[in-house]
């Protein structure tokens, strides 16, 4: 095989422009495939990290009658907090309305312990605030409701007996999070305050889990690990990846088509050369192997050429990141302003293997014909 590689390199370097064009197209595929995949991996990692830090913690312990995805369960979806609360942060969800600039807007009040540190939501501001009814909101709600830090807005809710009540809340902070789920239509207040205004004393809809907790003390609560909570996000990203692989496939197909064409043309045009190889003592199998290896060598050269311009580009993008347009950030999934690509070994090696193997296969397919060539006719350069 060493001989075939030696000869293949010589033949390809000798072919100059034809080799250069094929190698450039293939190297472009290499770089694009690795870059786009690294962006997806970067998004995946960032989205998971943000979701854990801002929303999921180590998991949720949800009251059995509460389904966070079903608004109809909010009213009854809460229960008394059991006694042993080690490693758990209670959250109480409650429906309400705000009236920014006279418009009515449905929101979910999220009561949280203002001393908590399990989530990155800046609840300590609630504790420090001297306002009578302090709340914090995320940038998305602030934007949609046209609210700013320091603004006051009317809040209306129903207490445990169904009686409507209202008060003026003060936005004491607008936090910036990449997780839309804790932001869109959500108002965060101290859980004690929420208990007080709703009469739902010592009630919670779910808990954020920080560490291990005594599961036996929560028979009516379902535990969802962070992995299961991240499942939807992962599925979404996998779906996006699958969509992108169509583009990779297309790119790779163009590059492979160029190699396939070159191989067909080579075998057609290099008949005399093939005949000479056989006359000089090469077996047909070796000639088939030589032409197949030439195709593989395209991918090796593409890897080298791609590295020359790809590696600096990858390093630059790893530092500068890939900016996400504001419109994309409103998609409702955890998406940062800037995504930093992640170049994993698995990604790089799987891309290299995919390209090398597919280039070898498309080179082998036309090269098989050599095994059936008549060397006498080939020596004369007669097309077969």
């Amino acid at each position: 095989m060493k001989l075939e590689f030696q000869l293949a390199f010589k033949n390809l370097f000798g072919a100059r422009l034809r080799t250069l064009l094929n190698v450039l197209v293939l190297s472009f595929s290499f770089v694009i495939i690795i870059f786009l995949n690294s962006i997806m991996d970067g998004w995946d990692q960032q989205a998971q990290k943000d979701s854990i830090e801002w929303e999921f913690g180590e998991g949720h312990l949800i009251y059995e009658k509460y389904d966070p995805l079903d608004p109809y369960t909010i009213l009854e979806g809460h229960s008394k907090i059991p006694l042993n609360l080690d490693g758990l942060t209670p959250i109480l969800d409650h429906q309400a309305f705000i009236y920014p600039q006279g418009r009515m807007m449905s929101v979910v009040l999220k009561g949280i312990d203002n001393r908590q540190s399990v989530l990155k939501i800046p609840t300590q501001i609630l504790k420090q605030s001297k306002e009578s009814f302090p709340v914090i909101i995320g940038k998305r709600l602030a934007e949609s409701a046209k609210l700013n830090k320091g603004d006051k807005v009317q809040l209306r809710w129903r207490d445990v007996k169904g009686t409507y009540d209202a008060n003026t809340i003060t936005i004491v902070d607008v936090f910036d999070s990449n997780v839309p789920n804790i932001d869109n239509g959500k108002i965060w207040i101290d859980i004690n305050k929420l208990w007080q205004i709703t009469g739902l004393e010592n009630q919670a809809s779910y808990f954020i889990v920080k560490d291990d907790f005594n599961k036996a003390a929560f028979p009516y609560w379902k535990f969802k690990s962070k992995e299961s909570l991240l499942k939807n996000l992962k599925e979404l990203i996998d779906q996006k990846k699958a969509g992108q692989s169509f583009i990779f496939g297309l790119l790779l197909a163009i590059a492979l088509l160029a190699i396939f064409d070159t191989q067909i043309l080579s075998i057609f045009r290099r008949q005399k050369e093939i005949g000479t190889y056989i006359a000089l003592g090469m077996t047909r199998l070796k000639v088939v192997r030589l032409f197949t290896v030439e195709g593989s060598v395209y991918s090796i050269l593409a890897l080298l050429i791609g590295s020359i311009y790809g590696v600096p580009f990858f390093i630059y993008m790893a530092k500068a990141g890939f900016p996400i347009p504001p419109a994309d950030q409103k998609m409702g999934i955890a998406l940062a302003d800037v995504i930093y690509p992640v170049y994993g070994l698995k990604l790089i090696f799987s891309t290299i293997l995919t390209v090398i193997i597919s280039a070898t296969i498309v080179s082998y397919l036309p090269a098989r014909k050599i095994a059936k060539l008549n060397p006498v006719l080939a020596l004369k350069g007669k097309k077969q």
Binding site: K10, N11, G14, K272, A279, L280, T283, P375, V376
Partner: protein, 232 residues
């Protein structure tokens, strides 16, 4: 030097299918060729010279009859054995040189030795010696497209001779050369035949070549018409 029979042909026939029928090219050839001979198969175009050379060179197979080359029965050789026979024992020289265009002169000559898996040092020594035989050491790093026709054919001779084969098959080697180059090439081959004892078998209808041959086998319509031996 003791002469031994290296090629033995017995009732060799070769047919090619033409328009659905078998067209006979060689019709019962019987020949015996010894080592160190410098001989030619002479005949007009279409007489079967190249076909005969191709069968002896194991590039083609006979339809019927026996072809024994260097104690190998050509008809029974598989692809691998035939390739090995050509690689180690038979050198080819073609009418249109058939040099590999992307390789240098050195690499073209080295090619057969690469297949034999010789060491770099062995290859280098053998190639430089072969280039010296044909007077092309100064052109070792040139590509074939920078050489004249005569030089190209001398590279082809060096390529055929570098592996010290027992037999060299030359198919109309002077057909694309002018008289001066043709004579130079033939002198080189004659010298190699004398010094190394290599058997040279030509196919030709070139008068210039005939003057150098020690034995002339005249072929007409696939039949040996005459077999004349001369004292060299």
């Amino acid at each position: 030097m003791k002469k031994e029979t290296i090629i033995k042909l017995k009732n060799l026939t070769k047919n090619y299918p033409v328009a659905g029928r078998d067209f006979p090219v060689l019709k019962g050839i019987n020949l015996s060729i010894n080592s160190s001979e410098f001989l030619g198969i002479i005949g007009p175009s279409g007489s079967g010279k190249t076909t005969l050379l191709n069968i002896i060179g194991s590039l083609d197979k006979p339809t019927n009859g026996e072809v024994n080359v260097l104690n190998k029965e050509i008809k029974s050789l598989n692809h691998k054995d035939a390739a090995e026979l050509r690689n180690f024992h038979i050198g080819f020289i073609f009418q249109v040189f058939n040099l590999l265009p992307v390789y240098t002169v050195f690499e073209n000559v080295e090619f057969a030795l690469l297949l034999q898996k010789n060491t770099t040092k062995q290859r280098k020594n053998a190639v430089m010696e072969a280039l010296e035989w044909v007077g092309l050491t100064e052109h070792a790093n040139k590509k074939p497209d920078k050489l004249s026709g005569g030089e190209s054919q001398r590279v082809a001779i060096a390529r055929a001779m570098v592996k010290s084969p027992k037999l060299v098959l030359a198919d109309e080697p002077t057909a694309n050369l002018d008289a001066e180059n043709a004579h130079a090439i033939l002198k080189t081959m004659k010298k190699l035949n004398k010094e190394l004892g290599t058997t040279f078998l030509f196919s030709t209808h070139d008068e210039k070549v005939m003057g150098y041959l020690d034995r002339k086998i005249f072929l007409r319509d696939g039949i040996v018409e005459k077999d004349e031996k001369y004292k060299s």
